[in-house]
Amino acid sequence: MISRKIVLHFPQVLVDQPIVYKLVKDFDLQFNILKASVTSGQEGLMVLELTGKKENFDKGIEYLKSCAVLIEPLSKDVIRDEEKCTHCGVCVPVCPVDALVVEPQTRKIIFENKKCIACELCVKICPPRAMEVRF
């Protein structure tokens, strides 16, 4: 038996699909929802603790991947509130991995979530508090 905490990002088209149900029925996995934000017509985010036999667990993950669900191990997810961000750029020199950079033409601040290691340095120092941690 193994147990892992994972973060699932559902693309918009999958939000209406019974994906977690399939994990239980077809792969005999137990799940514990730690956080979910699934709204019809929008991208979905779910944090699950998934428990089951190693073989079934791996098959379940393969199934999720085949559905185009993006899977990440749970660390934390830093997101940006686009309405709050004023694109000042005071976060840029603080980010250790260049996940926050100035776009030279527009002078807007690009946030590359993929590069983010969720160190949270930007979260507290952002003046309009546009950076948020999601678990």
Partner: protein
């Protein structure tokens, strides 16, 4: 030579030529000062950044029975207001914070909510909760008031910022070996970052270095609405060292601005929290510069590489009020993402949003082109170099004798 009157006639006729403070730079490079001065009527300038000496006054209307807030206590969403006026006039400052905010007792404090946030919420149309305690008089008997208020129902709501729009500003670094938290943001030890706060070549007073166009009564874009320059701002300091192009090398002039909060938009007045420092308000300001002669264009076409400022140690020199610059850098260098200070390459961050400032120059341009915004003549100049006006430190004395 043109006059503001002639430019306003063109605005009304619909044939005015307006360019932004960025566009004028390219135009002058292509066509030269003389040609551009003939062709262009207005240059729009702007800035968007945290401006702590901002605030708003309100007349909330009289309750039944009446209450006199003057001399009492009044809070909006728990943030204390200044009540030292008549019955129902109050002033809320951007940096005011709730009495129970831990401040820096748990260092560094978060300062999540303050006067700037209340102003932002009011402008966004949200109700805020007013609680007041008064001492009661024969004509104003009521002693307590607790009610939700909103911007549209109260009488006056006026943004009145006593110092905004700094003409140039310091670059802040930290030479100590610990992190410090300042109004210039979090500064990493041993010059881990260098923070600046100016729109550089878009910034109003950098494009009118001797305040020849911007004066008392100048009509401006303020927080998404229309406002005016009310006075020179506090700490206005025209008597500082300047480059040959007239642009100050250190913080110089400032503006006090005023405008109807009810017309403003939440996008251009953002409540902000400076970690370990305090709450504030980011303000968007746009100032049109009428092109009256070649000199106006020459000043308005100054570009980032011609605007210089000083790198200051905020771990020691700034708090101790010790003069001294670690390096002189220009805004083109600052915007490149790194500067060199004492042989070390330091990454830079801006507290002022260049993209928002650019957006304001475009909005103001469209207002003028559409005929929705006429220029005003200033009614009195701001003190300039020849005035001898300057910014003094405090003289402390132990007693009043």
């Amino acid at each position: 030579m043109k006059t503001i009157k002639e430019i306003n006639e063109k605005i009304k006729r619909g044939d005015v030529v307006v360019v932004t403070a960025e566009e004028v730079i390219d135009l002058v490079e292509k066509k030269g000062v003389r040609k551009v001065a003939e062709e262009v009527d207005v240059v729009t300038t702007a800035t968007f950044g945290p401006m702590c000496s901002s605030g708003a006054y309100f007349n909330i209307g009289h309750s039944k029975p009446r209450i006199k807030l003057g001399g009492g206590v009044c809070k909006l969403n728990d943030v204390p207001c200044y009540t030292g006026f008549a019955a129902v006039d109050i002033y809320l400052g951007a940096t005011a914070i709730p009495d129970d905010d831990p401040r820096n007792k748990v260092y560094p404090g978060e300062f999540k909510y303050g006067g700037g946030h209340v102003i932002h919420e009011l402008v966004a149309g949200k109700p805020v909760y007013l609680e007041a305690i008064a001492y009661g008089t024969d004509c104003y008997p009521r002693k307590k008031l607790a009610t939700a208020i909103n911007l549209k129902d109260i009488n006056e709501a006026v943004l009145f910022n006593i110092r905004n729009c700094y003409q140039n500003y310091n670059v802040a670094v930290n030479l100590s070996d610990k992190m410090i938290y300042t109004y210039m943001g979090a500064l990493k030890p041993n010059m881990g970052n260098a923070n600046y706060c100016s729109a550089g070549q878009l910034s109003p007073l950098l494009k009118d270095p001797y305040y020849k166009s911007i004066g008392i009564g100048t009509k401006i874009f303020l927080g998404g609405g229309v406002g005016f320059v009310a006075w020179h701002g506090t700490q206005h300091n025209p008597s500082i060292p300047r480059k040959d192009n007239g642009v100050p090398k250190v913080p110089g002039g400032t503006l006090a601005v005023i405008g109807d909060l009810k017309q403003m938009k939440a996008k251009w007045l953002a409540g902000e929290s400076m970690y370990g420092y305090g709450a504030t308000l980011a303000v968007g300001i746009g100032v049109p510069i009428p092109v009256l002669n070649e000199e106006t264009i020459k000043s308005a076409a100054v570009k980032d590489e011609e605007i210089w400022t000083q790198v200051i140690n905020y771990a020691h020199d700034y708090p101790q009020c010790i003069a001294g610059s670690l390096a002189e850098v220009n805004y083109s260098q600052l915007k490149s993402g790194k500067i060199t200070v004492q042989g070390k390459e330091v990454p830079t961050g801006n507290l002022s949003s260049y993209s928002k400032a650019r957006e304001i120059t475009e909005i103001l341009k469209s207002w003028i082109v559409k005929g929705d915004f006429l220029l005003s003549e200033s009614v009195a100049p701001l003190p300039s170099v020849e005035s001898g006006y300057s910014f003094k430190p405090l003289k402390e004395s132990p007693s009043i004798s």
